[in-house]
């Protein structure tokens, strides 16, 4: 029986390269960053790693990381 029409398989980037959505990209200032991981905890997309590396292919540029950063280490730069 062909199950293909009713079964969906797990895929990274299920909606495509959502990085194309953004107008601003977050840029981390390594000098100010203390790796407190607040941005990692609050990124809705989960594109910030525990090492505070950003997966720009999928980052939608929502700006929450910039808002939450206690050290003001993240800047939203126009694309």
């Amino acid at each position: 029986m062909d199950l293909e029409p009713i079964i969906s398989r797990v895929k990274l980037g299920a909606a495509g390269e959502t990085g194309l959505w953004r107008n601003y990209r977050p840029v981390v200032n390594r000098e100010l960053c203390t790796k407190c991981k607040t941005c990692f905890n609050y990124c809705p997309e989960g594109v910030i790693s525990e090492e505070i590396e950003i997966e720009y292919r999928f980052c939608k540029g929502c700006g929450i990381c910039k808002e939450m950063c206690r050290q003001k280490a993240i800047e939203m730069v126009p694309e």
């Binding site: 029986m1 199950l3 029409p5 009713i6 079964i7």
Partner: protein
Amino acid sequence: MRALLTSNEAIAEAVRIAKPDVIAAYPITPQSPIVERLAEMIARGEMKASFVRVESEHSAMAVIHGAATAGARVFTATSSHGLAYMYEMCWWIAGSRLPAVMAVATRSIGAPWNIHGDHTDIVLLRDAGWIIGMAENAQEAFDMTLQAFCVSEEVNIPFAVGIDAFTMSHTAEVVELWNPKLPERKQAYRVLPTDKFAVNAVTMGKARMKARYDLALDLENSAKVIERTDGEFGSHGGLVERYRLEDADYSVVMMGGWCGDAKDAIDILRKEGHRIGLLRLRFLRPFPKKAVKELGGEILVVDKGNSDLRGVLGIEVSSCGVEVKNVVAGIGGVDVGVDDFCKIFRDFLNGRINLEWYL
């Protein structure tokens, strides 16, 4: 072993033998005794199923959908408004290609209120993608319920077993209770916590259309499985029962419990020399197109459920390309006995019927 059982009780016995894992049902007259008997059997330890008390029929079908998804053998029962209330879930479980069995004690759908038997409710399922069987007596209800578990799990399509409200559901008959060992449950897929896929996500056109086509095609082909397993489950005839049709110039097409009385009327008319016979449809879906097309002579369809002025079976039969006379009778449980059938059939023989309501 023989027992005196109503169709409700016969179905409950068949369900016990099938050993379902999860049963969820909401009471509604006249199906409630099925569910009550199952609850009693579980309480007495005669059955090991889990019985979920739900708050509505919609939830009843939803619970068995969930259980079936996890790989459980499932059963529910309803009638009339209950079937209407769970209608959305009937489409969902059929489209999910999950095996399930449901008993429907066919009762009139209002308004106004009526608790008695006709076929206005079960015909709702025609387009949803279910196998729909209609039994004539308690023995057939018992046999068909057992067959339902097997066939449904073979073709991955849910199966509804229809019995007439009160005239069958609450009428005791002699039933031969035989005890087959049904095969272990199988199904096309099931979902476990270790899986990493989604079922029934939002689709775009092509996938949805393919799913619908696959279901329709498999429903059509389920006829082969029904006919192949007929001998194992009482040899009632496959998709249809042919009663005195071999040389008939006049054929009557009907389904359901009242066919018993119709057959008596056929016998009376046969004694008078009329070449009349009955094609009893055992299945509404898959529709027995071949059997209908093979009918010779004049055709009368007697319906217990209507769409507009036309009976539903009348529409279905005429869609096979044959010309049909149609009588709608017995709605709301109005009694149609042997004398009534004789009258209707005589009018048919005398060419006095086109589209009539027997009020």
